[in-house]
């Protein structure tokens, strides 16, 4: 579903530190459930933005759902649902209107039924006429996920989906995500919370723009050395 080889992107950050994202090889198969963790500035968001086609890169091959980036970006982006770190909702539109807008943008047919189904999935059907600016943080995030799902993507990519969200909404968000995983959607998310990372079947640890570790969650948890991904992570990064 996702294949990256020899990807390189470099830039100077505003703090004047040069940053290089350097990924030799990364393959994610259809239906995989993957979390990306790493320190602040390790390249998690940059990698996610490249996968979603919204960040340019200097060299390397990036293929999403069979489409090559950046050349086939338009085709690729129909296959990807992306939840960015910043809310991308229109605050003066209602919940329904936001969904309707995104549906029109992607030329979705039979949109009314689709919208209502998705609003039911994310638990916002009762709030469909509320302006999105009047939603709580957790509800906004759930609406954003519904907007990302409107084009029935093959890959759902979420950049820190639970930032600013209360514990109950956090559970509800993972309930939505994992329903999609059960339906064999490919799901990739970044997080700073290790208990969230642990939910995924595969974890990628990034550091200084590189993939430091890439493993099956159960392999770490079943080997009786580390009790949690947090322990493993702390051990690896501090080394």
């Amino acid at each position: 579903m996702i294949s990256i080889t020899n990807l390189r992107k470099s830039y100077k950050s505003k703090t004047d530190k040069s940053f290089v994202l350097d990924i030799r090889e990364l393959t994610i198969q259809r239906g995989e459930y993957v979390s990306i963790i790493g320190p602040d500035g390790s390249g998690k968001s940059t990698l996610i933005k490249i996968i979603c086609g919204i960040s340019p890169f200097e060299s390397g091959k990036v293929c999403i759902a069979g489409y090559k980036l950046p050349e086939e970006f338009i085709k690729a982006r129909l296959k990807i649902g992306y939840l960015s770190q910043n809310y991308t909702l229109y605050k003066n539109l209602t919940v329904y209107e936001n969904m309707d807008y995104f549906a029109s943008l992607f030329g979705i047919g039979g949109k009314k039924e689709k919208i209502l189904n998705l609003l039911e999935l994310v638990g916002l059907l009762d709030f469909k006429d509320r302006l999105s600016k009047d939603l709580s943080g957790g509800m906004k995030q759930k609406l954003s996920i519904a907007c990302a799902l409107i084009r029935s993507p093959e890959v759902l990519v979420l950049d820190e989906p639970t930032t600013g969200v209360d514990p109950r909404s956090r559970r509800e968000i993972f309930s939505i995500i994992e329903e999609k995983v059960a339906q064999r959607m490919t799901v990739i998310f970044s997080t700073s919370y290790m208990d969230e990372a642990e939910r995924a079947e595969r974890v990628i640890i990034m550091n200084n723009g590189e993939i430091l570790r890439d493993f099956k969650t159960e392999n770490i948890l079943n080997n009786n050395i580390y009790k949690s991904i947090e322990q493993f992570y702390t051990h690896i990064i501090e080394k």
């Binding site: 950050s13 505003k14 703090t15 004047d16 963790i37 790493g38 320190p39 602040d40 500035g41 709580s136 943080g137 820190e160 930032t163 600013g164 969200v165 209360d166 514990p167 109950r168 956090r170 559970r171 509800e172 993972f174 309930s175 994992e178 329903e179 995983v181 059960a182 700073s192 919370y193 290790m194 208990d195 939910r199 947090e230 992570y233 702390t234 990064i237 501090e238």
Partner: protein
């Protein structure tokens, strides 16, 4: 002696009682977690303690200062850090920290010493002359912290101080807080949604609908949790599971994660009953130790 003592505190907005007759005291050398859903009364309580909002009833003392009578004097004892609002984006890290020092009227010589000390302790040297808007999140949090403690407060408010950073940065942050409260015989209040932050606290205060419904050490709270938690794998469809569980008595809450279901029940329901009620084979059900999140979610149930 307690650093802060709150008695019978009440605040109403029209017909809505935001804070409903709460009392608590915080001792020095403690980190205290204020937890609760949105609208539970945490922020209103903190605003009253800071002297920014006048309570309808009750009293607040910080050391011996009456906050309601003398809010400005009380504020000299407090430091406040919120990752979102406490820094000026168009000032550098250095300018931000010194600005707060000047607000608290710290003498220049003392100010410069304190500034040097904090840049050392919080590892801020290389970022001193960068605009705070250009700093990565983790560094911004450290600058906000330096600004909050420049005047040696004994009561520190931290509002979701480490949201969005990795466990190592979070651990270092709380190491600093721990050292600070030890050296200043201070106390800290951490207001948070994040149970990973709560794990760093000595004492937890769980707010719901204007009241403190539970307080105690994190381990104690989990131990006293009186509900059972089960996890099961099932091939039933989401709608079918919902149907079964919504119609079963004694089930407090359940969450469906694809093919896994997490069920929180009353304490008198055992694994056998869950099996009978759901029709799921007992070998597919396991008893799960409660997490702090389970406690939070089941006790703040609407």
């Amino acid at each position: 002696m307690e650093i802060i003592s709150v008695k019978s505190l009440t605040k109403r907005f029209g017909n809505f009682t935001a804070v409903d007759n709460i009392s608590f005291g915080l001792k020095p050398l403690t980190i205290n977690g204020f937890l609760g859903p949105n609208g539970a009364g945490k922020t209103t309580t903190i605003k009253m303690i800071c002297g920014l909002l006048r309570p309808d009833e009750g009293s607040i003392f910080i050391e011996n200062i009456d906050v309601i009578e003398n809010p400005e004097k009380a504020r000299e004892k407090m430091g406040y850090m919120s990752q979102n609002f406490s820094l000026y984006p168009d000032l550098t890290a250095r300018e931000n920290i010194l600005f707060f020092a000047d607000l608290y009227k710290i003498k220049k010589s003392e100010r410069d010493n304190r500034y040097a000390e904090l840049t050392d302790e919080l590892n801020l040297h290389e970022y001193q002359n960068t605009l705070t808007s250009d700093l990565p999140l983790g560094i911004r949090q450290r600058v906000a912290l330096a600004s909050a403690v420049i005047h040696h407060p004994v009561l520190l408010f931290l509002d979701e101080p480490t949201s969005g950073v990795d466990p190592i940065s979070r651990m270092k942050f709380f190491d600093f807080i721990r050292k600070y409260i030890n050296s200043h015989k201070a106390t800290a209040i951490v207001s948070t949604h994040f149970l990973t932050e709560a794990a760093h606290c000595n004492e937890i205060f769980l707010f719901n609908r204007g009241k403190i419904i539970l307080s105690g050490q994190p381990a104690e709270i989990i131990q006293n949790f009186r509900y059972n938690i089960f996890e099961t794998k099932t091939s039933l469809l989401t709608g079918e599971i919902k149907n079964i569980l919504n119609n079963s008595e004694g089930i407090i809450e359940f969450y469906i994660f694809g093919k896994r279901v997490r069920i929180i029940t009353e304490e008198d329901i055992d694994i056998q009953q869950i099996s009978v009620r759901t029709g799921i084979d007992i070998s597919n059900i396991s008893v799960v130790a409660p997490s702090f999140e389970d406690v939070f979610i089941s006790l703040t149930n609407d």
